[in-house]
Point group: D2
Chain length 344, copies 4
């Protein structure tokens, strides 16, 4: 049994970690912490766990975490997570960090997009980028895994096969992304107040969302050269799910079928990536509550653009499910262990 | 033209007042105030008014309201409204108060249910209760109108004809009420955060909701004797609408048709009460955005209970629409003026 | 491994059965049938199963079901289910029927409320009523289990302890029930068309819903005498969940705490019933996707009525989860096997 | 008073026409027809009109429409509308057609995208394209107005100023559009069944939606040369609203402010187009129930792409509101008459 701790357990990604870890056959969920609710029982804050998790929430103190813990999940706000992560590494723990704090390789990018000086620039760039479909070998041996952002997960899995094969005109990438509201976190704010959020659709942070540099860094790494994208996120009146519609120009001539085959072969050993055969298209409900990333490819013959559609559950494959997948790899378990949920 | 002011214009009832007053043919919306947004333009806070309302939000200072204002709508939180209302009356303004502060006749009931000492007990009981279907004569001449609560409006209109005719066993009344989320106001809070509110249904303040004494006071007034009810409100994952399902025992024997006729005749001169003929039942969407109260009556022959179903838009007939209806009466306009919206 | 078949696999209860059975550690989901989609792959109709269920849908022919099947779940429309159930029993299969066809003991009640002559009145009344919290001993040995209706499950579990102890005035029971839209089934119809269903709340089949006689029969069986209830179902704009608010008069004097203790002790060995301590109240989201029934009890001291609130997921504890729970009992597995999902 | 008839009055655009026309101060809604509900009262089918519209639905027979009707709105399915429109013109009526039947100038485009031979190719191209912001002069004198599609309205208003000034690289236009479910019409179908539609987001008819040729024809007309676009529609779990996110490359160098000024000046006399100043962005709720088209412009400095965001209510500015606006122009009324609704 892997003895695990979750720091920041009562936010949405922390809660989702508890849901997945408490039913994982090889995991002992030993410690959960929360700044706001320390001292309370998990099931008092989240009654869905009544009868399932009988833990009391600890205060978040890295120095008090018992040495017997095998793996710590950090589900803290960015900034705080960097501090905790550095302290945990120093104490010798293996860490999966779900914040943005260890994803970017350059401190200036971090400060530019997150409006915050990174407090531990020394370990920036030392983390394994936790996208198992591309980096499982590195993840296996890592002490620090930077769990990818939700939007980046959907975009990167949608483009990796083409980028790897140098089939994209790198100046042409436009990502029009749509996310459910849980992506905004658990703290109540005016734009996510039910009466202002339901029956509404809008774009936000147009051409200025903080996931942009992460996507560019990771797409660039796959492509082998730097690139820039246009990225527009939107807010959908639903709880879970991200659908990304990505537009690009192919650098060479390929048929839709050739591209489909390329993707199928690229992801042949990836249990959580499903390539949909035309005319079936991904919908967020097909992945809700599950760790899948569903993909479809459509060549617009009239304009010669390829349209890639990807769907994930932002809290599962876009956060906590992917973190559990990374844990499985780090502890030599089959990748799917504890992650076989079907969409509800 | 009636020169009007709205105090507390940016909350949901205030905003709804602006919507209704700005298109009212006999109203000049002259002054709007807001504590939180003083100095900003209405359309900066609520962009739907861009091109329609070109006013800047004032600070809420009763003493600065120009004497030329004919009518002040108070859409302030309870407690604050009592203070403002008293000061406005002193300055000689006519006032329609949308808070709970002038609805109850007894200060002890107020402090017991609102957990607040009433600051102006002298004028408690002096207000006209602004339910036009029952009290239009008093409203006409009133300087202070206490606009009814949303739940009370739905319940009272549903029971008035039977109570007036002494046809209800007064100990038997159970009200199971369901409200959309706008009833909770505009301030973001955890239970109304979209991800925790959508796809969810719950009861709240069971047998302890603060509208209970208002309902009992007003039903008792119609019946001519005191009564107690069981009242359970629920939260529906929608923005607008209240549906009340009220159960009661008839004190005498009546057929469904006789009761239907009684209601039709009782409300024959009331343009905003619609009695649905069986088998048609009210739905909140039929009244959304409109000032109607829709009613249906069903006699459960197997148990001899009458089930009364009433539907209103909580922000219109349950608040701002009713306030405008009261204004029309106070200023000798036809009751429907500016209130002919069909449900959207 | 229990070899199972699901007849009517593509409707909502059938699909939910596939979700639960495909991840059940002791079950081999061997055969799935569908009238409308025979010949198609499960994952073509319900893409969420891609990568998880690799079965092709059979035509529904009882005579072709292989004798090696240990248990057949019938998730067919009522009427059809009676035919299939009778034929399956004749061929010697054990059957869990999720329709209404074997729940009522009297053919005349069935024809009166379902507007259909029951085709196999001989086996009416021979089925075990599949409510494991009350009848696990009978279920264990049964060949035919009538899986309870969704509303009845919520109501009966909410009242059983009091009825058993003869603490209810039997003429006083009023059930105000609210259900998500999945309860209406998968066939598209006008009232469940998204634009007419979202942002709307309504009552339906007031005092005439077909679950009424089932509730009365089963409550009466527990009470040891016949009774009648008033039952009003409502439609909530959400997919899953039923919340029942039940009003009753106690026949003796009991404190809220005494009643709470009574419930706790009555359900002490029932893993899927959770009694909430005040002031916590059930919400449908706490049980969404899970097999729990959450209960709360509130004594309205002002009117001396008890209010019982129960919440279930209509597709899980109200249908397919309960069916799996019944299967576990029939095959001597721990009741919770494969049913430990936390609400999503 | 303009005497009007609405053919196909019970669908969503027909119902919305009734809502707008019944409160229009210069309109007499004299005749409403419906194939499915002929003989029924409007308020029996749509109870929200109880007390407001007291008309009985006629069968749809062009030859029976009284000659005293000044204007006929055709809100019929495409194909049927062409037949009715042709017959109405022959009888001398002025017609506003809300279907797609008179929008395309070429019969082959129509048959290619609508999979239907156009039955009246002789009058194809004779209709005025009813986008008042661009063609009010032609509309004024027209006997047949082809009311634009919902997506085209949002896209064209978003691009017209730039196209007119030849500021767009015509090969670069990508439209990522998102629509509420009412756009799919009133007939219940599986994808719009509440449980499959809510809490879900998806793309549909990717690179193959039938509004594509209409958008291309009209953008090309403004640009003065042919062009092709990539167009991807998506379905949002809400009832009303379209938000279009359009990506394009500028052909010359312009600052965001210059573009903003260009739009402001282009639309200076258009009461229903609102240009949002940064950082304010359109949201569909700001236009819900109203006839506005809200626009925002964002220059992505990092990639040199312009992002145009437009929001409309698909049933108002995208259909029935625009039709009423066209009527106002045809009958020399101020454009805004009867269209001053604020978003609800």
């Amino acid at each position: 049994m892997i003895k695990t701790a979750v720091l920041g357990a009562t936010g949405y990604t922390g809660t989702e970690l508890m849901r997945l870890l408490s039913s994982h056959p090889e995991v002992d969920l030993a410690l959960v912490s929360s700044k706001s609710y320390a001292g309370k029982k998990v099931s008092d804050i989240h009654p869905q766990f009544k009868g399932q998790i009988d833990l009391t929430l600890d205060q978040m103190r890295v120095e008090k975490i018992p040495g017997s813990i095998d793996l710590v999940f950090c589900a803290l706000p960015h900034g705080e997570s960097a501090e905790a992560g550095a302290a945990l590494l120093k104490r010798g723990f293996r860490v999966i960090d779900l914040s943005a704090d260890f994803r970017l390789n350059h401190a200036d990018l971090y400060s530019q997009w997150y409006k915050l000086e990174h407090p531990h620039q020394d370990i920036l760039g030392s983390a394994a980028y936790g996208l198992p479909e591309l980096y499982s070998e590195v993840i296996k041996g890592a002490d620090l895994v930077a769990n990818p952002g939700c939007y980046p997960t959907g975009v990167i899995l949608g483009l990796a096969p083409l980028l790897k094969h140098k089939l994209i005109n790198l100046e042409s990438i436009i990502v029009d992304a749509k996310s459910g509201v849980s992506g905004a976190g658990r703290a109540p704010k005016q734009p996510f107040h039910f009466p202002e959020c339901t029956e509404n659709f809008k774009a936000y942070r147009v051409a200025s969302h903080q996931h942009t540099p992460e996507i560019e860094q990771e797409l660039g790494r796959i492509a082998g050269e730097e690139l820039k994208i246009t990225f527009t996120p939107h807010l959908v009146p639903m709880v879970r799910g991200i659908l990304c519609t990505t537009y690009l120009e192919l650098s060479g001539s390929k048929s839709e079928e050739e591209i489909f085959n390329l993707y199928n072969s690229f992801y042949s050993s990836c249990p959580f990536v499903r390539i949909f055969e035309p005319p079936l298209l991904p919908e967020t409900r097909f992945v809700r509550g599950s760790n899948y990333c569903d993909l479809a490819l459509k060549l617009d013959m009239r304009t010669n653009r390829l349209i890639v559609i990807s769907a994930i559950d932002n809290l599962v494959k876009g956060a906590s499910g992917q973190a559990v997948q990374n844990m499985n790899i780090m502890f030599d378990l089959p990748e799917e262990t504890g992650l076989c949920q079907t969409a509800v």
